[in-house]
Each structure stands twice: as structure tokens, then as C-alpha cells.
């Protein structure tokens, strides 16, 4: 089972596959770095930055149809905003795990 679903992105692209590929490229280019930054900010106890970055990548996660992270990313944003640091490690682990799986899936599909 794939960890992402491009239905929304394809709807946005209105049949233009080149645009879909470009958007996937932008996602691959920026999201790993953003997730890495979230993790780093968390380790540095900079929760406002964690919340802001989670907020920032939330629409891209929705657009890429990563259902497993839809709630996770919102919880990270909210918990970080409310300084509930104890709840964050498991959520950020989950974010890293799923994002890695998504990248593997996308890479596999691109290579096929």
C-alpha cells in the first residue's frame, strides 16, 4: 500500500502531468530538510519554531495525500504551540518514519 495519494494534486494539475512531476520534485527537494529542521528544533527545545514549521509543511502533506500524517502534523503544531513537550517525541518519530516511507515509495515509482 502506498503511503501517499496524488488525487488532490492531480485534480489541481487539471491533467498536466508535467506539473504533477514538478510539484513532486519541489516536495522532495524541500520537505526532508524541513522535517530534519523540526527534529533539530525539538532537540533544542525551540518549540515555537517546531510549531511554525509544522504549520508550514501541513498543506504540502495534505496536497500529497499523506493521510497517515494528516493528524500527526497538526498535533505537532498544536502541542508545540501549547508547550506540551512530552507529547512530541513519539509524534516527531512518526513524522520521520512516514516521510521516509513516502520518499521510498515516490523514488520507487519514479524509477519504475
Amino acid at each position: 500500500m502506498s503511503h501517499y495519494d496524488l488525487t488532490k494534486l492531480r485534480a489541481m494539475a487539471q491533467g498536466n502531468e508535467a506539473f504533477v512531476q514538478r510539484m513532486i520534485g519541489v516536495f522532495l527537494e524541500h520537505t526532508p530538510e524541513q522535517v530534519r529542521q523540526i527534529t533539530e528544533y525539538f532537540h533544542n527545545h525551540n518549540l515555537p519554531k517546531v510549531s511554525a514549521l509544522a504549520h508550514k509543511i501541513k498543506p504540502s502533506i495534505d496536497l500529497m495525500g499523506i493521510e497517515e500524517l494528516k493528524t500527526v502534523i497538526r498535533e505537532i503544531e498544536l502541542k508545540a504551540k501549547e508547550n506540551q513537550e512530552d507529547d512530541l517525541p513519539s509524534l516527531i518519530d512518526r513524522l520521520n518514519t512516514i516521510i521516509n516511507l513516502v520518499f521510498k515509495d515516490i523514488s520507487k515509482e519514479l524509477a519504475a
Binding site: K8, M12, M23, F27, H30, K58, P59, S60, L63, E77
Partner: protein, 444 residues
């Protein structure tokens, strides 16, 4: 206008890319991308026609950027774009001068595209209008004074707001107690606006049975027959939704779509129809409270709010009462073939001191009744009977004879139904001659 310049201020690369891609498909648009608020502000010298502004930026908040833009160029349309959870915050920015907000989802680029198209066409229209002789400020005031009579500071303030409303195409929400002439204001603004060549369609939402409202507003397709609704009939003009209050969810969604996308679907129809309509709403309800209680959608509330116009009550402009009373008296006498009647100074003073809970409508009714019962060309204070007991509770608080109660009830109904004797007789199930007799005998 050669090129329509659009600023995309967005630090999310994905969305920036999507918005740029869609907008760039139109060769008339030139898209500039900025990833911070500061960059946007530094480049305002490029004179953009539209700014799409993300609410969360790395340096300045969207709110700060919006304010700074508005200081430098109050006319520049700014659209707020925000992640869905921030809608409540973002819609507050509409009050700060944003023309719209768009939640971030897969429809955002398309919505922005339509918005840009509409703004471009408005800008082009404005350029054309500027070449035509428009109404001067004096002419505008003259137009307004035909519909809304008065010289008080409250009315002058209202005229100022009406001027602004006439020169823009923003949705108008007219708030005010019953009888404060909300419809007159809506009509005056329509007549002085570029939409005056289109239709003005008023729908009293309380006058229409709930089950027929959707068809009336949006039209229907029954057995291959198309019946256009108010929004289609008013294409190019204005729809005035009077007595706006709680509507069922489905209708709220359909009105929202008209306001947001300029599109509607007829009842039983499948196609989406594009309409170009300015919406004005009149209400004596507290729509904010409806929104807070959840009976009115938040996004619809803020769309409807547009330019809010607060109608002054007649008590707030009591200096206008003598002038209004003379105007309505003259109008009523001419219409009914009565000899000219004038109000004495004391009669005017009596009117001026009364609180008029029913506002202008009540004043009209009081003056009409005075015209009917007066035998002289001079109407004195004794000819003016004021309705000072509007509620049953108030009616019963003051002890009276049965005859006295009857008189007060009939007087209350005459006020309520604009002195329409036949209607009041019907409502109270009494003979109309009874009412005429009581009027002649000054019992009411």
C-alpha cells in the same frame, strides 16, 4: 491595462509553485514570487494589481504585511491565503482590508485564478469608467437625499459611507432596527453605482416560504424547463436579501458559493452557472451572534459582512423628524387628493420628543393617521396620536377600560400595518367602518 501584475508572497515552495504555475498560464498576468513579507514590501514599487499573501511568513506576520501594504496603497487588493486551521484568524483580516481569504487546499490556485480574473476585469472597467463623466459629490448627495431624507450628523455620516459603497463593488451588509430604511439605502447605492443599468432584485427572506426559497434565489430546472432565480435575473446588477437571518445549511452553502466563486447551481440542475451579482443584505438581527452560536457559517458571515452599514435609528437623528414628517405628510396628502396640510410648531415638537421605536415606518404611519383625522389644514399636537404601548405586557401594565384597551390595540395595529385600515380590520376581525368611526371620533 497591458499586464496584470500579481505578487505571490508565500514561503511554502509547494504552494508558491502551484499558484505561480496556474496564474502564469494566463499570458496577461505577470507573476512575482516572494518568500518573505519584507521582500514583498520592498518591491511594492513594481505597482502590483493584486497581492496573494500567506498568513504565516518567516519574518513578519501576514497581518503586519497587510497593514503596511494598506498604509502605502489602500486600494491595492490583498488576498490572504492560510492553512485551514487559521481561517478564524484570517477572516478577521478581512476587516483590516483584505479583499478575500483562501484556505490552502487543492482548489486554491483555481480560486486565485478566478479572483485575479474578476479583479482584472474590475480594474479594466474602472479605467473605462474614469473616462466617462461620473456623478459629482453634489450629484451623489442629491441622489441619496431622494431616498434617505435628513440633514442630521447621523445622516451625513451615512451619506459618506454610501458614497464609498457606491464607488466599490463590495458586498454590503446593512444593519438596523426595523423601519430604519435599509432598503432605501440599498436602492440609493445601487442607483448611484456602475451596476445601475442591471436589475435590482429584492428578496424578503421572511416573506417567502422556506421550501420555495432555494428555487426563488437560484432558479430551477423542471422537466427541461429552466426557471432562472433572483441571482441569475440580477446578473450585472444587485440582489438585496432583506430580513437576512438564519437559513438552513444548504442555502448558506449556495449563497457562499455565489459570493466566493460567482457560481450557482439551479435546483435539480447540474451545470454550474456563472453570475456577476453584487449582494446586499439587510437585517435587524445580530449576525455575529448567529455566527457565534453556530447557526450562521463563519465564512459566510465574513463574506456577507463586506462593508457594514449601521443605520441610525430615528431617535439618533431626532432633529430630522420635523423635516421627515412634513415630507411624508405632503406625500400622503398629494397621493390621496387631500388639501395641503401643515404641521404646527407644537405638533412637530411633540413628534420630535417621541422615541419612535418603529423608526421611520412608524413616523409615516403616525403622520398618515394625523392627515386622516384632521379636519383642518393645520395639524396640531392634539391630532397626533403616538403609539406608546407596543407590547402586550406594556399594554396591560397601564390600567384602562375595555374601550381604552380596544383603542390602543387598534392603534397599535394601524401603526404596524402602515395605517392600512382594510388590513387591520381583517387582522382584528372587525368592520372597517368601526375603525373609520373611531378615527373620526379621535378615539384612536
Amino acid at each position: 491595462m497591458d499586464v496584470f501584475k500579481i505578487f505571490i508572497v508565500e514561503d511554502d515552495e509547494c504552494y508558491a509553485e502551484a499558484l505561480t504555475y496556474h496564474l502564469s498560464m494566463n499570458p496577461d498576468y505577470k507573476v512575482y514570487r516572494f518568500s518573505s513579507g519584507r521582500e514583498c514590501l520592498d518591491n511594492l514599487g513594481l505597482c502590483p494589481h493584486l497581492v496573494s499573501l500567506d498568513y504565516s511568513l518567516p519574518d513578519l506576520s501576514g497581518e503586519e504585511v497587510l497593514r503596511k501594504i494598506k498604509v502605502r496603497n489602500p486600494e491595492l487588493p490583498v488576498v490572504m491565503v492560510s492553512a485551514q486551521e487559521q481561517i478564524a484568524t484570517a477572516v478577521g483580516l478581512l476587516k483590516e482590508g483584505a479583499v478575500d481569504y483562501l484556505p490552502k487546499d487543492e482548489h486554491t490556485p483555481e480560486r486565485l485564478w478566478y479572483l485575479a480574473r474578476n479583479l482584472k476585469s474590475e480594474a479594466a472597467q474602472q479605467e473605462t469608467n474614469e473616462l466617462l463623466p461620473g456623478l459629482s459629490k453634489t450629484e451623489l448627495r442629491k441622489e441619496f437625499s431622494r431616498r434617505v431624507i435628513g440633514e442630521s450628523p447621523a445622516v451625513k455620516k451615512l451619506y459618506n459611507l454610501m458614497e464609498k459603497a457606491s464607488s466599490s463593488d463590495v458586498t454590503l451588509s446593512i444593519f438596523g432596527e426595523l423601519g430604519t430604511e435599509k432598503e432605501a439605502v440599498a436602492r440609493a447605492i445601487y442607483e448611484s453605482s456602475p451596476r445601475r443599468n442591471g436589475a435590482f432584485i429584492k428578496i424578503g427572506l421572511n416573506d417567502v416560504p422556506k421550501e420555495g426559497l432555494e428555487s426563488l434565489l437560484f432558479g430551477e430546472e423542471v422537466q427541461q424547463e429552466v426557471v432562472p432565480g433572483a441571482f441569475e435575473k440580477a446578473n450585472g446588477g444587485v440582489v438585496f436579501l432583506d430580513d437576512f437571518s438564519q437559513l438552513e445549511d444548504g442555502l448558506q452553502a449556495k449563497i457562499l458559493r455565489v459570493l466566493r466563486d460567482g457560481k450557482l447551481r439551479r435546483v435539480e440542475g447540474e451545470a454550474l452557472i456563472e453570475v456577476d451579482v453584487r449582494v446586499m443584505v439587510g437585517t435587524h438581527h445580530d449576525l455575529r451572534r448567529d455566527m457565534e452560536s453556530g447557526s450562521l457559517r463563519e465564512d459566510l458571515y465574513f463574506r456577507l459582512l463586506g462593508l457594514p452599514v449601521e443605520m441610525p435609528t430615528l431617535r439618533e437623528r431626532s432633529t430630522d423628524i420635523p423635516m421627515l414628517a412634513e415630507y411624508y405628510l405632503g406625500q400622503y396628502c398629494r397621493k390621496n387628493g387631500f388639501p395641503e396640510r401643515l404641521l404646527t410648531g407644537m405638533a412637530k415638537e411633540k413628534l420630535r420628543k417621541y422615541s419612535f421605536p418603529g423608526n421611520v415606518r412608524e413616523l409615516q404611519s403616525v403622520v398618515q393617521r394625523a392627515a386622516v383625522i384632521s379636519d383642518s389644514t393645520q395639524i396640531g399636537p392634539e391630532d397626533i396620536s403616538l403609539n406608546e404601548s407596543l407590547t402586550i405586557k406594556e399594554l396591560l401594565m397601564k390600567e384602562d377600560t375595555l374601550k381604552g384597551y380596544n383603542a390602543r390595540i387598534i392603534r397599535h395595529y394601524l401603526d404596524k400595518y402602515d395605517c392600512n385600515v382594510l388590513l387591520v380590520a381583517d387582522k382584528l376581525n372587525i368592520g372597517k367602518s368601526t375603525i373609520y368611526r373611531m378615527l373620526k371620533n379621535r378615539e384612536i
